[in-house]
C-alpha cells in the first residue's frame, strides 16, 4: 500500500503556490495530507504533481475580521477546534469538532484542506453552509470569494478550478441566535453516516430564519430547504419539529453502502433534524 510517484514542489508563499498551480496543470495542493495521502497510499488518487504549502509562512492564522473570523488555509483542525475566537463567534464549528476525526489527525489536517477535499460525508462543509461562510480562492489571475453554498458541487468536487488555491475561510459574525450540530457515525470519529448542522433565529417566539444543512446523505453537503420552510414563521413546537423532521427526511435522496442503507440515513436525518432544531431553539434563550 504505497503511493505512486509524483513530482514534488514546495511553495514558499501563496503567490508561489498559485504560480506553481498555473505552471503545472496536473498539480494539486498538499496541505495536511490526512485524506489525500491515505487515498494516494491506496492508489485511489494519483496526482502527477503536489505543491506542498506547509512551509508557507503566516498562512495558519485565525483572526478577527470585522465581527467575523478569518481562517488561513494552513490553520490546523486542532487550532480551530481550540480557538476561543471561533468558539465565541462560530460555536457551531467548535461543537462540530467534537465529532471530527481524532486528535492526531487534527494536529496535521487543515480546515481548508478538508473543505477542498469535499468528501460527501465530511462535517465541515455542512457547518460552512449553515453559518454562511465565504471561501476565498486565489489564482495568478487574482482572488474571488465563493459562498459555501456554491462551493460544494459533488463528491470530491468543488467550485475551485485547478489553478485556484483556497487561501482563506471567512466565517461571518454570529448571525443566528441558535445553533446545533449532530452526527451519527458507526464509530466515534469516523466519517459521518449523517450530519445535520442547524442555525436558527427566533423573534417573539417564532422562527424567523433557519438553516438546516445535511452531510453524508448526498453527493455533497446541502441545505434541506423544505425543513427550513417547515420551521420559519411559527413556534418551534413538537408539531413543527415533526414537520421539519419529516420534511428533512423527504428532502434527501441518500445512498446505501456498507455503513448504512438509504432508509437508515433518512431516519437519521429526521432524528438529527429534530434534535438539532430543538437544541438550537433552546439556545436562542
Amino acid at each position: 500500500m504505497k503511493p505512486p510517484r509524483f513530482r514534488y514542489l514546495r511553495a514558499g508563499s501563496v503567490d508561489g503556490a498559485v504560480q506553481a498551480l498555473a505552471d503545472n496543470p496536473d498539480a494539486r495542493i498538499l496541505a495536511g495530507g490526512q485524506s489525500l495521502i491515505a487515498m494516494m497510499n491506496l492508489r485511489l488518487v494519483r496526482p502527477a504533481c503536489l505543491i506542498d504549502i506547509n512551509r508557507v509562512p503566516d498562512l495558519g492564522y485565525i483572526r478577527e475580521e470585522g465581527d467575523g473570523v478569518a481562517i488561513g488555509a494552513l490553520a490546523r483542525h486542532n487550532e480551530v477546534k481550540h480557538s476561543e475566537l471561533v468558539r465565541a463567534r462560530c460555536p457551531l464549528l467548535t461543537e462540530a469538532y467534537e465529532s471530527i476525526a481524532h486528535h492526531t489527525v487534527r494536529n496535521r489536517g487543515t480546515l481548508g484542506g478538508n473543505l477542498c477535499h469535499a468528501d460527501p460525508s465530511s462535517e465541515t462543509p455542512a457547518v460552512m453552509i449553515a453559518v454562511g461562510a465565504t471561501l476565498v480562492l486565489q489564482s495568478v489571475g487574482g482572488t474571488r470569494a465563493v459562498g459555501a453554498e456554491d462551493f460544494f458541487l459533488g463528491t470530491y468536487e468543488t467550485a475551485a478550478r485547478q489553478d485556484e488555491m483556497l487561501v482563506e475561510i471567512r466565517l461571518p459574525g454570529r448571525g443566528a441566535d441558535g445553533w446545533a450540530f449532530a452526527e451519527i457515525s458507526n464509530r466515534h470519529g469516523d466519517f459521518a453516516i449523517a450530519v445535520i448542522a442547524t442555525t436558527l433565529s427566533l423573534e417573539n417566539g417564532r422562527c424567523a430564519a433557519a438553516r438546516v444543512v445535511a452531510s453524508g446523505v448526498g453527493e455533497h453537503a446541502a441545505r434541506l430547504v423544505p425543513a427550513e420552510q417547515a420551521l420559519v414563521g411559527g413556534p418551534v413546537d413538537e408539531t413543527r419539529l415533526d414537520a421539519a423532521a419529516a420534511a428533512a427526511a423527504g428532502a434527501v435522496d441518500p445512498h446505501s453502502d456498507s455503513h448504512a442503507d438509504a432508509a437508515y440515513r433518512r431516519d437519521a436525518v429526521a432524528a438529527l433534524t429534530r434534535r438539532t432544531v430543538r437544541r438550537a431553539a433552546e439556545r436562542c434563550g
Partner: protein, 160 residues
C-alpha cells in the same frame, strides 16, 4: 528517479538523506534509519500504530511524506526511554498491563506522552478522547487508560 535531499532530526540526531518524494515518513524511519520501533498497521490512517511526534505534536507517519519532515524534529519510541531507564509512561504501561502484543504500543505511548504534556492530570474522558484514534486489538483499552492515569501520577510525583 527524482530524489529530494532532506535533513530530519530524529531523537536528537540529524540525518541527511535523499528520498523519493513519495516515500512515507514511516518507511523512512523504519527502513532508511532502521528505527523499527514505529509500527505500521494499516497505512491508511485508521489505526494509529505509526504515530510519532513531529515538531512537538503527534503525527501519523503513514500519512506524512518524508519530504514534509525536512527540517522537522521527530521523536519516536526509541527516543522515549530505554529498558533500564524507562520514561514514566513506559513504566506505567508495564505496571498496569497496558499492552499485550505490543504492536500498537509505540503509537499509544507517543499519544499518551503528548496528552500528558498538554494536560498533566487528565480525566478518564480526556484520556479516552486522546487515544480514540489509536486502535488496540488486545487490551480492550481499559488498562491503557489505567496506565496513562498512573503515568500522570508518576510524572507529577517526579515533578514534585
Amino acid at each position: 528517479m527524482e530524489r529530494e535531499s532532506i535533513s530530519v532530526t530524529v531523537n536528537g540526531r540529524t540525518y541527511e538523506r535523499a528520498v523519493e518524494p513519495r516515500r512515507l515518513l514511516s518507511d523512512f524511519l523504519r527502513d532508511d534509519l532502521r528505527l523499527t520501533g514505529t509500527h505500521v498497521g494499516c497505512e491508511h490512517g485508521v489505526c494509529g500504530s505509526c504515530t510519532v511526534m513531529m515538531d512537538g505534536v503527534t503525527a501519523r507517519s503513514c500519512l506524512t511524506f518524508a519530504v514534509m519532515a525536512d527540517g522537522a524534529e521527530i521523536e519516536t519510541i526509541e527516543g522515549l526511554g530505554s529498558a533500564d531507564a524507562m520514561h514514566p509512561v513506559q513504566q506505567a504501561f508495564w505496571e498496569k498491563h497496558g499492552l499485550q502484543c505490543g504492536f500498537c504500543t509505540p503509537g499509544m505511548l507517543m499519544t499518551a506522552v503528548e496528552l500528558l504534556k498538554r494536560n498533566p492530570d487528565p480525566s478518564v474522558d480526556d484520556i479516552r478522547d486522546a487515544i480514540s484514534g489509536n486502535l488496540c486489538r488486545c487490551t480492550g483499552y481499559q488498562t491503557i487508560v489505567d496506565s496513562i492515569r498512573h503515568a500522570a501520577k508518576l510524572m507529577r510525583e517526579d515533578g514534585a
